[in-house]
């Protein structure tokens, strides 16, 4: 997988989430994602960015335009150094939340992307990777 373009944004406040969405929208447009796919990856980004802020205590997101031969895609890597997730399988269940949300953010985001990966270590932090291929 080639990385054609990369950029890292901070997630420290609610306004940063808006900025992440705008950045993802611009890049999704740039690689020519369809309107539905744009909306999917933006919404997934919004969910995970909010998790990074609310549960991870803030962190960063790396927004990459990637390609495999002629196929292009958008890869987002969210990183935080928060408390981590003790039971990932549980966190991925629909309707489970440790906060006050709907419990659909993580599982919903997984359904909205082509590839999804989550790694977490209790006390060290969480990394979530999303890819949406064109």
């Amino acid at each position: 997988m080639n990385i054609e373009k990369t950029e890292t944004l901070n997630i420290r406040s609610g306004e940063d989430i808006v900025r992440v969405r705008q950045n993802v929208r611009t890049k999704a447009l740039a690689i020519g994602l369809s309107l539905v796919d744009q909306t999917r990856i933006i919404t997934a980004a919004s969910e995970i960015a909010r998790n990074t802020l609310d549960y991870g205590g803030g962190g960063t997101v790396q927004v990459d335009i990637v390609s495999v031969s002629v196929r292009k895609g958008l890869r987002l890597i969210f990183n935080d150094t928060g408390p981590g997730i003790p039971d990932i399988a549980r966190a991925l269940e629909d309707g489970y939340t440790s906060g006050g949300g709907m419990g659909l953010g993580l599982s919903g985001a997984k359904r909205l992307c082509s590839e999804f990966d989550i790694r977490s270590e209790v006390g060290k932090g969480t990394t979530v990777t999303l890819i949406r291929w064109k």
Binding site: R25, R40, G101, M102, S107
Partner: protein, 295 residues
């Protein structure tokens, strides 16, 4: 090290007028034509040199944060604010101060003659002073811009949450932009208050202008709908675009609310619910329904 201010004071006293003239000329060269009225620039510059004169006489030239410099600071604040509002860049704003260096140093050079050591000292003193003043204008510029941004944010907050009455008993809430929690709170309060005020039975929440609907936005919407229901009003959601509908399904969010693709659909459903009919003028004559039937 305490610096002597006698020479600087002397130069300012003796050469105030030619100094201002040369300074104004340099400033006009640095600015784009038409950015500022010549007369305004001249009166600002004259006032500033006068304020500078008295501040140098009575105050400490090593710190402009002392009371003796109050007049100079006020004047700078006024000039900077005006320029920030007119859309000057920070460097264009700071030019006001930095353009003074050349003429001032020139007169200091004339005073010192061939005494290079003295000249170096004097220029150091004057330069340090002008740098301080220049930094102050930059700070003021930043402050003015922040004030402008804050005011605009407040204005947008108010603008973006109107509740409109479409008919007796029917309210519409066209949402635009990001639904962060501060705004959602205002939206909800406005809607609930209007429901009481207009005794509305139906409220249409239109999300055509909301770019992203994620689980948090959905949750806010559902809470608003629930609260309206407790007040005795039914909510309809309109303006759900195809891509948003698909995304919501993938997210697994169930909006247990009657929703319509467009505000027009939602309005026609609302009419049906409150027992109103919309009829074409033509068919109306044919079917013989009286004028007031649609009211």
């Amino acid at each position: 090290m305490a610096r002597s201010k006698a020479l600087l004071q002397g130069v300012l006293d003796k050469n105030a007028d030619p100094l201002v003239a040369r300074w104004v000329e340099l400033q006009r060269k640095a600015l784009k034509s038409g950015q500022l009225e010549a007369s305004e620039l001249e009166s600002q510059s004259k006032k500033f040199v006068k304020a500078l004169q008295s501040a140098v006489v009575s105050g400490d030239i090593e710190s402009i944060n002392t009371p003796a410099w109050a007049e100079v600071r006020d004047l700078l604040e006024e000039v900077t604010r005006a320029r920030a509002l007119q859309g000057f860049s920070p460097s264009e704003t700071a030019t006001f101060v930095f353009a003074l260096k050349e003429p001032l140093f020139e007169y200091l050079r004339r005073e010192c003659g061939k005494d290079a050591d003295k000249l170096a000292d004097e220029i150091m003193t004057a330069s340090t002073l002008l740098d301080q003043i220049g930094l102050y204008t930059t700070e003021m510029y930043q402050k003015s811009r922040e004030q402008i941004i804050q005011r605009q944010q407040e204005e947008m907050m108010e603008l973006s949450t109107p509740v409109v009455q479409l008919w007796r008993g029917i309210l519409a809430l066209p949402l635009i932009g990001t639904l962060d929690s501060a705004r959602t709170q205002i939206v909800m309060e406005n809607l609930l208050q209007e429901i009481v005020k207009t005794e509305a039975e139906i409220a249409i929440i239109d999300i055509t202008g909301v770019p992203t609907v994620d689980t948090l936005v959905a949750q806010h919407l559902l809470k608003t709908v629930e609260a309206a229901r407790l007040m005795g009003a039914d909510c309809l959601i309109s303006g759900i675009r195809p891509q948003i509908a698909q995304t919501l399904v993938h997210l697994g969010v169930e909006l247990n609310v009657v929703s319509k693709a467009t505000m027009a659909d939602a309005l026609s459903l609302s009419f049906r619910r409150i027992g109103k009919v919309v009829i074409d003028r033509k068919t109306k004559k044919e079917s013989g329904i009286s004028e007031s039937a649609a009211d």
